[in-house]
C-alpha cells in the first residue's frame, strides 16, 4: 500500500467518531419501572459484589454515600393518596459520555464492549467526571475505608478495593462479564449467550425488573425490550446515547 493510502486509512480511522467500527458486545440493561418495588435488593447485592464501602453514619449525614446503583424516589400527591415512583439509577454507560472527555489523565474511557470503564490506578481525583455526569452516578472516595473484621472476609477478591482519592461507579459487574467471556472462549470459542452473565443487581432483583444482555444479539431480551413501546432513556434530550433502557410505568 502506498504511503498516501496508508495515511488516508489512518486519518479515516482516527477521525471516526467513537473510534470503533463496531463493538464486540454492546452491553445494555433494561429497567422495568412497572415491576420495580423499590426494595433496594439491587443496592445490597451491588454493595456486596463490588466491595462498596459503608461510609458510616456521620459521612452519610454529610451526603458522602457511595451507591453505585441507587433507587430514586419521586412521589406525587399527599398521604394517603401519595403515588410513589421508583427509578433505579446506575451508570448509564453512555456511548457519548460527557464524563469521559474531561478526565485529564484518561482514567475513564469507552471500551470495545460498549462499557464506560474507570481505571482506579490512573485516577488522580480531579472529580470533574462527577461534575460532568448529568445522572450524577459517579462517587468519590473521600476517606480510606476500613472493614472491621469479620466483614473484611466478605470482600470480593475479583474486585479491587479503592483507596482514598479515586472515583468509582457502576461497571455492569465487569468482573462477571470477563469471567463469562473467558468461559465462553474456553467452551469452543463461542459468544456469551443471553442470560449467561448477570450483574449482581440483575441477579438479585426479586421482581425481575432488571434485565441485562448484549443488544447486538437480536434474540436477547434486552434487544426485544428496546423495541417495547414503553421504552425510553433518561435525559435522552442530552444526547448521551445511554445503554440503559427504562420501560415506563403504566398507571393503572
Amino acid at each position: 500500500m502506498s504511503l498516501f493510502s496508508r495515511f488516508m486509512d489512518g486519518w479515516r480511522k482516527y477521525r471516526k467518531p467513537g473510534y470503533y467500527d463496531e463493538f464486540d458486545y454492546h452491553w445494555t440493561m433494561t429497567v422495568d419501572l412497572d415491576s420495580c418495588t423499590g426494595c433496594e435488593a439491587c443496592m445490597t447485592a451491588c454493595q456486596a459484589e463490588n466491595n462498596i464501602p459503608l461510609v458510616g453514619e456521620e459521612e452519610l449525614a454529610k451526603g458522602r454515600e457511595i451507591q453505585w446503583i441507587r433507587i430514586e424516589r419521586y412521589w406525587e400527591g399527599e398521604y394517603p393518596n401519595a403515588k410513589l415512583n421508583f427509578m433505579p439509577m446506575m451508570c448509564q454507560h453512555c456511548d457519548a459520555a460527557p464524563c469521559e472527555t474531561v478526565c485529564p489523565v484518561s482514567a475513564t474511557y469507552h471500551n470495545q464492549d460498549g462499557l464506560n470503564t474507570q481505571i482506579y490506578n490512573r485516577c488522580i481525583g480531579t472529580r470533574s467526571c462527577a461534575v460532568y455526569c448529568p445522572y450524577e452516578v459517579r462517587y468519590f472516595n473521600y476517606y480510606n475505608h476500613h472493614w472491621d473484621s469479620p466483614l473484611d472476609q466478605q470482600l470480593n477478591p475479583d474486585v479491587s478495593v479503592r483507596g482514598k482519592g479515586v472515583m468509582e461507579k457502576c461497571t455492569f459487574c465487569i468482573q462477571r462479564i470477563r469471567d463469562a467471556k473467558d468461559l465462553a472462549k474456553d467452551d469452543d470459542r463461542r459468544r456469551v449467550r443471553d442470560g449467561e452473565v448477570q450483574p449482581a443487581c440483575v441477579q438479585s432483583c426479586p421482581t425481575k425488573a432488571l434485565t441485562f444482555g448484549d443488544r447486538k444479539d437480536t434474540e436477547s431480551q434486552v434487544y426485544q425490550s428496546m423495541n417495547n413501546p414503553r421504552a425510553y432513556k433518561v435525559l435522552d434530550e442530552l444526547n448521551t446515547d445511554s445503554s440503559v433502557v427504562y420501560l415506563k410505568k403504566v398507571d393503572a
Partner: protein
C-alpha cells in the same frame, strides 16, 4: 595605543549631539550608555536592524506545529476512545496548538533577545556606573593621542560634565 574615552553628559540631547559629531569626524560608531532609552538615537547613529522578530515568528511556527503534533501523535500512540469523539479531534487540539504557539513564541523571543544583545556578558566590558543613575555617557575608542585630543575637543564643545579615561580595551 587604543584607549576608550567616555564623556559624561547631564542630558540626552548633548550626548546625542556629541555622538553625532564623533561619528561625522570619522570615529568608530560611539556607544551611548544611559539610564533610560534615548529618543532619536537612530537618526544620529543610523538605523538598527533587529533580528528578534524572526525568532518570534519561527518560535510561533515551531510551537504551532509541535502543539498539534504533540496532541495528535500522543493520542494515536495509545488510542483512548472517549465520549463518542474521534481520536484526533480538531477543536481541542487547536487550543493546545494555540497555547504552545504562544509559549514557543515567548521562549524564542527571549532567546533572540539574548543572542542579539549579546547578554549575558561573559567577559568584563567597559562600564560607567553613573550611566545607570542620571548621567548619559558617550564612549568612543581612540587610536592614538591625536584622536584623543580631537575627541576631547568634541566632548568639551558639546558640554560634557566629565571626561574619563577608561584604559585599554581588549
Amino acid at each position: 595605543m587604543t584607549t576608550c574615552v567616555v564623556g559624561l553628559f547631564h542630558d540626552p540631547q548633548s550626548a546625542l549631539a556629541a555622538a553625532g559629531e564623533l561619528k561625522n569626524a570619522g570615529f568608530e560608531t560611539p556607544e551611548l550608555m544611559s539610564p533610560v532609552p534615548i529618543e532619536g538615537v537612530e537618526e544620529v547613529l543610523g538605523k538598527k536592524k533587529s533580528i528578534i522578530k524572526n525568532f518570534t515568528f519561527f518560535g510561533g511556527l515551531i510551537g504551532g506545529i509541535s502543539g498539534f503534533t504533540l496532541a495528535s501523535v500522543t493520542a494515536i500512540l495509545y488510542p483512548h476512545p472517549v465520549g463518542g469523539r474521534p481520536i484526533i479531534t480538531i477543536p481541542p487540539y487547536l487550543i493546545i496548538t494555540y497555547e504552545l504557539t504562544i509559549l514557543f513564541g515567548i521562549l524564542f523571543t527571549v532567546l533572540g533577545f539574548f543572542i542579539s544583545s549579546r547578554l549575558p556578558a561573559i567577559r568584563n566590558r567597559m562600564y560607567v556606573p553613573e550611566a545607570a543613575v542620571d548621567k548619559f555617557a558617550v564612549a568612543v575608542t581612540c587610536e592614538n593621542s591625536e584622536h584623543r585630543s580631537r575627541a576631547d575637543a568634541i566632548f568639551n564643545g558639546a558640554g560634557a560634565e566629565q571626561i574619563r579615561d577608561m584604559g585599554e580595551e581588549d
